[in-house]
Symmetry: C2
Subunit: 106 residues, 2 copies
């Protein structure tokens, strides 16, 4: 079963789009690390909140991605713009529509 991770992070006022840009800057590294899905989203009801939904072949892939130079650089760039209010939820991916990757989806 593929591994999912759903995170939220709150930015300091006015810096949400800066952090979104940082999060979207490491895509080549994510692909090379085997990432199936990495979606960055914002909330129409909360101007300082960012959501990231990730799918990986395994928990180990996700863990390894946190050690990538691109990821470390992104974390370092984003941290001064975050309040420290973070959430993270591990998920077991059951299936669905539209997810790429070697095993495909039903």
């Amino acid at each position: 079963m593929r591994y999912g991770y759903l995170a939220t992070m709150r930015t300091t006022p006015g810096h949400r789009d800066d952090v979104v840009a940082v999060l979207l800057g490491g895509e080549d590294g994510l692909r090379a690390a085997g990432c199936d899905l990495y979606v960055v989203a914002t909330s129409p009801s909360d101007p300082d909140l960012i959501w990231v939904f990730e799918v990986w072949p395994s928990k180990e892939h996700h863990h390894a991605s946190l050690e990538l130079p691109e990821t470390r650089a992104a974390i370092a760039a984003a941290r001064p713009l975050l309040t420290g209010e973070l959430t993270g939820q591990e998920l077991d991916i059951a299936g669905g529509v539209g997810l790429p990757g070697p095993t495909g989806f039903r």
Copy 2:
């Protein structure tokens, strides 16, 4: 900007996998309705909770999908197995890796 919707639903004890199967049964209808992404997930830490992460070309596409015969049938089949504890979060999709669809992703 594409439209996202993140939902959670709690099932009555022992019925989580039944509801997951129901949710995964309407995929052809979702694709035909223009769905970019529909991922059903469960939680390793909460045995009765289901997460659904959806991406659509627009809010109107998502709204229309709720009127599909497949969707109505899935809701009718799942409802007796749910506690009524539901959450829903609208999202603006900023970008990322792996999302299919006509506009692609960076």
